[in-house]
């Protein structure tokens, strides 16, 4: 019994830990990139990363958007996948400071 638990534990943990790697993959394949760019920096849609809004608000908006965004229901994106996408957005590094980029300061 103990052996079974020890063997299964990594899989249980893996299932519960959102995967930024999978999030990156489905961010593209599910079409998020179309409005938010491949890195979540925004484009036709809002900037999502870095520092995404809290997961609860993020999830609520994705399921039932108030604006122009098309809805992503549980039927097409599972809660686990949404968590993966969120993990991907959280993994995005901060951009360089504008003052450190000479051509933005002419």
């Amino acid at each position: 019994m103990r052996l079974l638990i020890l063997t299964a534990l990594p899989f249980i943990l893996a299932a519960q830990t959102p995967s930024a790697q999978n999030g990156k993959k489905i961010f593209d394949s599910y079409g998020c990139y179309q409005c938010h760019d491949h890195d979540g920096h925004g484009g036709a849609g809002a900037r999502l990363a870095p520092n995404p809004i809290p997961f609860e608000a993020f999830s609520k908006y994705v399921r039932q958007p108030a604006g122009e965004m098309p809805p992503y229901t549980k039927k097409v994106v599972s809660d686990a996948e949404l968590a993966d996408i969120y993990a991907y957005l959280q993994s995005m590094p901060k951009p360089p400071a504008a003052k450190s980029i000479p051509i933005l300061n002419h």
């Binding site: 394949s29 599910y30 079409g31 990139y33 179309q34 409005c35 760019d37 491949h38 890195d39 920096h41 925004g42 484009g43 036709a44 900037r47 604006g67 122009e68 098309p70 809805p71 992503y72 229901t73 039927k75 097409v76 994106v77 951009p95 360089p96 400071a97 504008a98 980029i101 051509i103 933005l104 300061n105 002419h106």
Partner: protein
């Protein structure tokens, strides 16, 4: 006997002028005689015609003409001051073509070789956006006009004065069998009349001259629009008889319609009294003087200006129009094609709902010439805007009167209050610029390259030049300080405009020595890539920088929206919408057309050197293209 002041039908002329020709016709079978008389040398001749072609020619047949009608047409075009005439060659206007290059010396107008009629008209549209006057186009009345029609619609919706001459053969008995019938129509312009401003089918040279001058005047009377003139092939090719008295009417451009003074005074009262006015300036400015006037109005009122040709670094230039509109007590739209859509929106969900941005009691004013030329079929007029005052007049022409009326109403106390508002707006402008700089940093080193990085790198190359963005939109960080800095896009959002439109605008910029640059979308370029060849052939300096997202990206998003709505597969939106597998190598396409080509560039570090190399080419007076693989938007 020809009618006074009218054309001489070709067969009538030949009969009357050459007895030998009459004898020739009488001695032949009717069909063969007609073919011989009407021979124009393009289709494969019949057996009897071949005999005519190779047999002895009657020494009495008149086979040359010193002065065809098309020479006079060139005189007319020269009198109107056309610099260029764009055309893909076509037999229905072959005489006019020949008269332009030989009789006219291929100068004013100079013939610009185009690879598609859509390209020709889009070039005219782009040229007019910079030069403020028409560029002429020649096309077949049927197949050419069919190709040109989308570009004409763009010009009509964008209020651009393209001037189009259609070759056509109205006399059915004068047409060769086959192609000339396909290339003729009894009412050629019918197919574009719903989205052009005026047209005519002259039946004599005096008629041609009068209508040509009228067409020019109509095209340049606000609201501007495309005009069409049918140049009958017989009229082109028939020699001008010595007794035909020809003159070209004087052209006087109409002064643009200015607003009724009583209505203008009412608007001035509202503007001076308003606590939070917003000026929506979309197409208000047509000229450099117009931009100065708009600045003057804004400064007199210390009112924010959103959109249009208003200096981008002026403290009263305000982005974020929706927020300003929501807080406004007065919204003044000047030549806003979609005023309703500026203050309302329709949410694109399954159940469409309207959201209004304005607060209760806000007043709305429209100053626009659009209603002076409105048609029913094509819905380019947009939804009806409810206004408190609507002035049917040209906004730029109305500006001087509006400024004076505002100045008359200004008191010292009011001016102090408005100056305080101006300081707040200046601070908001600075904050907006800082935000724009910060926004540009996101994805700075991303690959594909961010559009903000693309824009910043282009700006770094052109900022010390007398630049003109002839395709695409500038970043807020660019210093748009005069009217020719931007040209705008296709008026009806018809894809395929930008590439030829930017070449036409660059053609207008060439004589001023301006550095033309275009941000060129990939899907758009594939409609009429031949524009690149035209740029190379005619040495039109233009730096085209590809915003290559490898898709018809707007449509990717639309299909994604439908897939999400229908919940039966959200991973297929790229089918039918992306431009991949294979990826198109635009630099190679450019090089194949004689244009300097760079790319595809995917690493942002490679972008600046490529742009510098392209810039050097353009500075030498030639076109260059830099293919940059970008983020979607």
């Amino acid at each position: 006997m020809p009618k006074p002041g009218n054309k001489v039908p070709r067969r009538g002329f030949l009969k009357g002028a050459a007895a030998g020709a009459a004898a020739f016709a009488a001695g032949s079978k009717p069909a063969a005689a007609q073919q011989a008389v009407n021979r124009r040398g393009v289709t494969v001749p019949s057996a009897s015609a071949l005999v005519d072609e190779t047999g002895p020619v009657s020494s009495a047949e008149v086979m040359t003409a010193d002065r065809p009608g098309s020479d006079f047409m060139v005189d007319v075009l020269k009198s109107l001051g056309f610099e260029y005439i764009c055309a893909n060659p076509g037999s229905s206007f072959r005489a006019l073509h020949e008269s332009i290059i030989n009789y006219g010396g291929n100068k004013a107008p100079e013939l610009i070789t185009c690879c598609h009629e859509e390209q020709s008209v889009a070039m005219a549209d782009g040229y007019a956006k910079i030069e403020g006057k028409p560029l002429a186009v020649m096309a077949h009345s049927t197949v050419g006009l069919q190709h040109a029609s989308m570009a004409i619609y763009n010009a009509y919706a964008g209020r651009s004065p393209a001037y189009i001459i259609l070759g056509n053969t109205i006399d059915a008995t004068a047409r060769r069998p086959g192609v000339e019938w396909y290339h003729s129509a009894q009412d050629a312009v019918a197919m574009v009349r719903d989205y052009s401003k005026w047209d005519d089918l002259p039946i004599s040279l005096p008629h041609f001259a009068e209508s040509a001058v009228r067409a020019y005047q109509v095209a340049l009377t606000p609201p501007y629009g495309p005009v069409l003139l049918v140049a009958d092939s017989d009229l082109q090719e028939t020699p001008i008889t010595s007794d035909l008295k020809l003159r070209i009417p004087k052209l006087t451009l109409s002064s643009p319609p200015a607003g009724d003074m009583a209505a203008v005074s009412e608007v001035a009262k509202l503007l001076v009294a308003a606590e939070n006015p917003v000026i929506l300036a979309d197409r208000a400015v047509r000229t450099a003087e117009g931009m100065k006037l708009l600045v003057e109005l804004a400064e007199v009122l210390q009112a924010p200006v959103v959109g249009g040709k208003f200096p981008s670094h002026h403290p009263l230039n305000q982005a974020g129009g929706r927020g300003l509109i929501g807080n406004a007590d007065l919204i003044v739209g000047m030549e806003v094609p979609d005023l309703w859509g500026s203050i309302n929106t329709v949410r694109d969900q399954l159940h469409r709902s309207v959201q209004t941005f304005t607060k209760p009691g806000a007043k709305v004013v429209s100053i626009s010439a659009a209603n002076l030329d409105i048609k029913s079929n094509y819905q380019s007029f947009q939804r009806y805007p409810e206004t408190d005052i609507s002035i049917a007049a040209d906004a730029e022409a109305t500006l001087p009167y509006l400024i004076e009326a505002c100045k008359r109403l200004m008191t010292a106390d009011r001016k102090r209050a408005l100056d305080e508002r101006g300081k707040k707006l200046a601070a908001a402008h600075e904050q907006g610029m800082e935000r724009a700089r910060t926004e540009a940093t996101y994805g700075w080193d991303s690959s594909p390259i961010s559009t903000a990085r693309l824009s910043a790198e282009i700006w770094d190359v052109i900022r010390d030049k007398d630049w003109s963005l002839v395709g695409g939109a500038p970043s807020r960080l660019w210093n748009v300080d005069t009217v020719y800095r931007t040209a705008g896009g296709g008026g009806a959002a018809g894809v395929g405009y930008s590439a030829p439109g930017s070449v036409g605008a660059a053609l207008a910029n060439r004589k001023y020595g301006r550095f033309s640059v275009a941000i060129q979308n990939d899907g758009d370029l594939m409609y009429a890539p031949g524009a690149l060849w035209t740029a190379a052939h005619h040495r039109i300096p233009l730096m085209s920088v590809m915003n290559n997202n490898r898709a018809y990206h707007q449509e990717v998003m639309h299909i994604q929206r439908m897939a999400n709505r229908h919940q039966r597969g959200i991973t297929n939106a790229g089918i039918g919408t992306t431009i991949t597998d294979p990826n198109i190598d635009y630099a190679t396409i450019a090089r194949g057309m004689g244009v300097h080509g760079e790319g595809p560039i995917t690493d942002p570090k490679d972008l600046a050197p490529a742009l510098r190399r392209a810039m050097e080419v353009v500075m030498r007076g030639e076109p260059a293209l830099v293919d940059v693989v970008t983020q979607p938007r």
